[in-house]
C-alpha cells in the first residue's frame, strides 16, 4: 500500500517546501533572539513603568495561542494600521514575537546567573550602563544558555506548520496541496511527519551533547 514511485515523485516538492520551513524557523529565531534580549533587559529597567509594560507584554503573548496571534497580525493589521504583511513576514514576526517571550525568560536566567560582584565591579570601575551590559554581563550570561536556546529553536521548528493557516507554503501545506491534487494522503503526511521527527531528534541530540560538554568544562553554571 506504500507507493514508492509516488513517494519519489513528490519528494522534490516536499523538500523544497521543507527549505521554507527551515527559513521561517531561522528567521523567526533571529527575531525572537533580538526581541527576547530587549524584553529581558527591559524587565530589569530602573523605570517601574518599563518593567510593568514588559511584564504585561510577556504575560499576554505567552498565554495566548500562536495561531490566534498570527491571525491577528495577518488579518487585523491591514484594518488597524493599514499595514499588510506578506505571509512569510507574518509568519516570521508572529513566531518571533511569540517565542521572544519564552527566550526572554531564558536570557533572564542567564543574566541572573552572573554573580552580583560582577555588577558591582563594573560600577566600581565607573563603567556606563551600556558598557556594563555589553562587556561584562552579556559575555558571561550568554554562553551558558546556548543549549536552552537550542531547545527553543527546535520547539519553534515544530511550530512552523501552524503558519500554514496564513498560507506560508511550508512543508505541511505543501503536503496538503499535493494530497488535494492526487487524493493520496498517506505518503505525503507520513513523509512530513518523518522529516520533522528526524530533524528535531537529531538536532536535540546535538544540543544535548553540547550541554554535557559545557557542563564538563564550566561546571553546571545555571541553576533554574
Amino acid at each position: 500500500m506504500w507507493d514508492w514511485n509516488y513517494t519519489f515523485s513528490i519528494m522534490p516538492e516536499l523538500l523544497h517546501a521543507f527549505l521554507m520551513t527551515v527559513y521561517v524557523t531561522l528567521a523567526g529565531f533571529a527575531v525572537a533572539s533580538v526581541i527576547g534580549l530587549i524584553l529581558a533587559v527591559g524587565a530589569r529597567s530602573r523605570f517601574v513603568a518599563v518593567r510593568i509594560v514588559v511584564r504585561c507584554i510577556v504575560e499576554f503573548v505567552r498565554n495566548t495561542p500562536l495561531l490566534v496571534q498570527v491571525f491577528f497580525i495577518f488579518f487585523s493589521l491591514p484594518l488597524l494600521a493599514g499595514i499588510s504583511l506578506s505571509a512569510f513576514a507574518t509568519g516570521v514576526i508572529g513566531l518571533g514575537l511569540h517565542y521572544a517571550t519564552y527566550l526572554s525568560e531564558v536570557y533572564r536566567s542567564g543574566i541572573d546567573g552572573v554573580p552580583k560582584g560582577q555588577w558591582e565591579a563594573a560600577t566600581a570601575l565607573n563603567m556606563t550602563k551600556s558598557r556594563t551590559w555589553m562587556s561584562v554581563v552579556l559575555p558571561q550570561a550568554l554562553p551558558p544558555i546556548v543549549p536552552m536556546m537550542g531547545n527553543y529553536l527546535i520547539v519553534m521548528f515544530k511550530e512552523t506548520p501552524i503558519l500554514m493557516a496564513v498560507t506560508v507554503v511550508e512543508v505541511l501545506l505543501a503536503a496538503k496541496n499535493i494530497a488535494s491534487v492526487t487524493y493520496r494522503v498517506f505518503e505525503p503526511y507520513t513523509i512530513v511527519g518523518v522529516l520533522f521527527l528526524v530533524v528535531s531528534v537529531v538536532v536535540s541530540l546535538l544540543f544535548r551533547r553540547l550541554e554535557k560538554r559545557m557542563n564538563r568544562t564550566n561546571g553546571p553554571v545555571l541553576k533554574r
Binding site: 495561531l67 491577528f72 487585523s76 503526511y189 521527527l197
Partner: protein, 217 residues
C-alpha cells in the same frame, strides 16, 4: 450587517464549550499517559524503560500539528477512521503526555532518598512505597510545571481549528467572515478569552498547590 459585541457571543460561547471539552479530555489523557510513561521510565526492567524512552523521544520530536493531520487525514487511508474529537484528543494527549512524563520522572527522582529508605525500613512493598510515600510527595513538586504544561495545552487546543473542529478559533473565523470590518475586534476578543482561560488555570493550580502543601508549614 452591522456587528455588535453581543452578536459575537453566542457563537464564541459554543466554541468555548468545544475548546474546554477538548482541553479537559486531552488533559486527562495526557496526565494518565504522563504518569504511566514517567513511572515506566523508572522501572527496574530495561525493556519497559527502553519502550517508555522511545515513546517519549518519538512524541516529543514530532510536531503536534503534523501528528494531528496524520491521525485525522492519513490514518483513514489504512482503515482507521477516528472522529474529529477523538483524533484531536489523541494527538494532544500523546504529545503532551510525552512532555508531562519528563516532569513526572524528574519529580519522583527529586523525592529525598531518605524517604525511599525509610519506606524500605518499614517493610513496605514497592507498590506501597510508591503510592503511599513517594508519589504523594512528588505530586506536589509536579503541580507547578504541570500547570504550565496545562496552559500550553490550552493554547494547543486552538490547533483543532485545522481539522475543522468548531472550537473558539474556528468560530472566530466564521464570525470574521460574517463581519469583515470587525476583524480586529473579533481576534482581539479571542486573544483576551484565551488569556483569561490561561489565567484561570494558573490561579487554580496555585490554589491547589497551597492546599496540598499545607502540611509543610
Amino acid at each position: 450587517m452591522q456587528p455588535t459585541w453581543i452578536a459575537l457571543f453566542p457563537l464564541l460561547l459554543e466554541g468555548l464549550e468545544i475548546t474546554l471539552q477538548v482541553a479537559a479530555l486531552s488533559a486527562v489523557v495526557s496526565l494518565a499517559i504522563a504518569v504511566a510513561a514517567g513511572l515506566c521510565r523508572l522501572s527496574k526492567w530495561a525493556v519497559v524503560r527502553g519502550a517508555a524512552t522511545v515513546y517519549v523521544e518519538f512524541f516529543r520530536g514530532v510536531s503536534l500539528l503534523v501528528l494531528m493531520f496524520w491521525i485525522y487525514f492519513a490514518l483513514p487511508f489504512v482503515g482507521i477512521n477516528l472522529p474529529k474529537l477523538a483524533a484531536a484528543v489523541l494527538a494532544i494527549g500523546l504529545n503532551y503526555g510525552a512532555y508531562g512524563s519528563e516532569i513526572v520522572r524528574s519529580s519522583i527522582l527529586a523525592v529525598p532518598k531518605g524517604q525511599w529508605e525509610a519506606a524500605i525500613a518499614l517493610n513496605m512493598s514497592p507498590m506501597q512505597r510508591m503510592w503511599r510515600i513517594v508519589f504523594p510527595q512528588a505530586f506536589i513538586r509536579m503541580l507547578p510545571p504541570l500547570g504550565n504544561l496545562l496552559i500550553e495545552l490550552i493554547k494547543a487546543t486552538s490547533l483543532v481549528y485545522f481539522i475543522t473542529l468548531s472550537d473558539l478559533t474556528y468560530q472566530a473565523m466564521i464570525l470574521r467572515n460574517n463581519f469583515l470590518t470587525w476583524t480586529p475586534q473579533i481576534f482581539g476578543l479571542l486573544l483576551v478569552i484565551y488569556f483569561v482561560l490561561s489565567c484561570c488555570v494558573s490561579l487554580i493550580v496555585r490554589f491547589a498547590e497551597r492546599r496540598l502543601a499545607a502540611w509543610r508549614s
